[in-house]
């Protein structure tokens, strides 16, 4: 098992090289001059040329990439073009806010998705099933920013129950300001998890071992949770893991709508101002988080399914 984890962590290296290269390449192609953005409209041509030289922008792309990777190897993600603050410091500063939002959103998704999926599967083709499947379809299809705006209009502007913008200071106000973004962000995940739970439950619901359990005289509740859900869990965990990593990386829209000071917004702002080191720092951080979440999901598999555990033990 340890060997497996180490192997998976080593696989992070090619992932980081690939991700940074692609981002570096794309940012290089995009129009705009970072030096002009930093110095502003009034800057003289000499000042711009000097700034470009200082930032190393005149070197070929591959040379700049090599420089950046060299720094990264030493744990140096560089400084922001915009305000010369360390990239790492800002990323670490912002990430907890995104993590709080993502965790809250996934909790919303789990609390809605799993019970609804179970009921839908157990009462397949009933009115309840049809209604929740239609709602799930709406949930996955609805653009996050639109849902976010609707929520703001209803709960913040019309009813005035909850704040529309920013992150409250202190636990109480923070939780209050978290409600709308968490629901907004969690809705589509809830829909995905509902559908996955339903189809995964339907797959095990007619299995022979369910008949065996019923033939033992086990009550329906225990049959549902101990025998059906536990066996249906692997695809559900996969979906939850994927959703969670998407939430971490994809909270940009929600963070923008609600002015949530997270990593997503930092990244959007940096892309707008062509702050290449900052964008790279955010992307690398998110790529690593994505891989780590997936690794955690794979480890959870082993605890849920003994067959996978014995595969890992054999050193797959």
């Amino acid at each position: 098992m340890h060997k497996y984890i180490i192997k998976r962590l080593l696989m992070l290296i090619p992932v980081i090289i690939g991700v940074t290269f692609i981002v570096f390449f794309i940012l290089n192609l995009s129009p705009g001059d970072p030096a002009a953005m930093i110095l502003g409209d009034q800057a003289t041509a000499e000042a711009l040329a000097m700034k470009r030289e200082e930032l190393g922008l005149n070197d070929p792309m591959l040379v700049r990439y090599a420089h950046y990777m060299g720094g990264l190897l030493h744990g140096d993600m560089g400084v922001s073009y915009k305000n010369s603050i360390s990239v790492w410091g800002q990323v670490v500063d912002r990430f907890p806010n995104t993590a709080i939002l993502a965790v809250a959103a996934i909790l919303v998704a789990l609390l809605i998705g799993i019970p609804t999926g179970i009921i839908s599967a157990k009462k397949q083709y009933s009115a309840m099933d049809n209604i929740s499947m239609v709602l799930a379809l709406i949930g996955v299809s609805m653009p996050v920013f639109w849902l976010g705006l609707l929520m703001v209009i209803l709960f913040a502007l019309k009813l005035g129950w909850l704040p529309s913008q920013g992150m409250g200071v202190g636990l109480g106000p923070m939780l209050k300001s978290l409600i709308l973004p968490a629901i907004t962000l969690g809705t589509s995940s809830a829909a995905v998890i509902t559908r996955m739970t339903r189809s995964s439950m339907l797959e095990v619901i007619r299995q022979d071992y369910i008949s065996t359990a019923r033939a033992k005289g086990v009550d329906e509740r225990t049959v549902t949770y101990r025998h059906m859900l536990k066996n249906a869990l692997i695809p559900i965990i996969t979906a939850v893991g994927l959703q969670f990593s998407h939430l971490l990386g994809g909270a940009m829209l929600t963070e923008t709508v609600f002015s949530w000071p997270g990593l997503g917004r930092l990244m959007v702002d940096s892309i707008k101002s062509k702050d290449i080191p900052m964008v790279l720092g955010c992307v690398i951080f998110l790529a690593v988080m994505f891989t780590v979440v997936n690794l955690i999901v794979d480890i959870i598999y082993a605890f849920v399914d003994p067959r996978i555990k014995s595969l890992y033990r054999r050193g797959k």
């Binding site: 022979d208 071992y209 065996t212 359990a213 009550d219």
Partner: protein, 330 residues
Amino acid sequence: MDDVLLDIKNLSICYSTEDGEVHALNNADLTLHRGESLGLVGETGAGKTTLARGVMRLIPNPPGKVVGGEIFYDGRDLLKLSEADMRRIRGREISMIFQDPMTSLNPVMTVGDQILEVINVHHPDLPRHEARKKAEEMMEMVGITSSRYEDYPHQFSGGMKQRVVIAIALACSPKMLIADEPTTALDVTIQAQVLEMIRDLKEKNNTSMLLITHDLGVVAQNCDRVAIIYSGEIVEYGTLHQIYKETLHPYTEGLFGSIPNLTSNIKRLAAIDGMMPDPTALPAGCKFADRCKYATDRCRTEHPRLLEREDGHKVRCIRYESSGEVTENG
């Protein structure tokens, strides 16, 4: 009639499908006596498993539904019991062994816990360590060392899994065991072992058994009485001797013709030509008429009743209705 444990009367079960109503079981009558083994023989799709699941009230609904009949177990009609009362019967009074051991155990639960579960369900007051001891005893009883209590089903072979299934079925010493083709999925040497084990354990506990199979050899070795089922109907019922030596129904005759014999020298086995009728559109007359060499026009229009001879041998065939040697029975 006090020695009757299970008495099924006119049991009919239907499945609704897109192609129409599937009449899986039609007016089935069956009697199981205390301590005896009854073999239920028929080809695939004849309604054997439907009957067994019907007794356990485990017909998946939808699409399945019991449309009529009664199932008297120990004098009580199982079809009239509440779900909670039925749960108390499942696993404790009547246990069932399913066909395929590879899929009938929960893959994410240790085998020990799966045996323990049935003990806990029916003896909730039993202290934990005693329940566990009982589960370990059951494992030893079916020939698995109790040190494998914490192992999972995927770590066992098919034969071993079937032993676990049997341990689950017998853990609460049920009065009746339904074994639905318990050895079909196993290879021949393991089949013999498993059957012998079922036989021994059944005799030790004086359990009655309904053994479902399509193997007449298995029936001959294990059963006291035999029922032959065809297209959802019981076509012949009697003691082992009556069925094997005084065969009445042409279908049963056909079944025996298809068994290879070591002592006689024949080049080809006699197969029964044709197929079972489509259960969504059953013929009006005798359901076997199309494949029967004795069939007359009357067979195709008139549905034969199940007739009982004086010695208890029952048959559903028009040829015996007029002969006078049998008396009517429903």
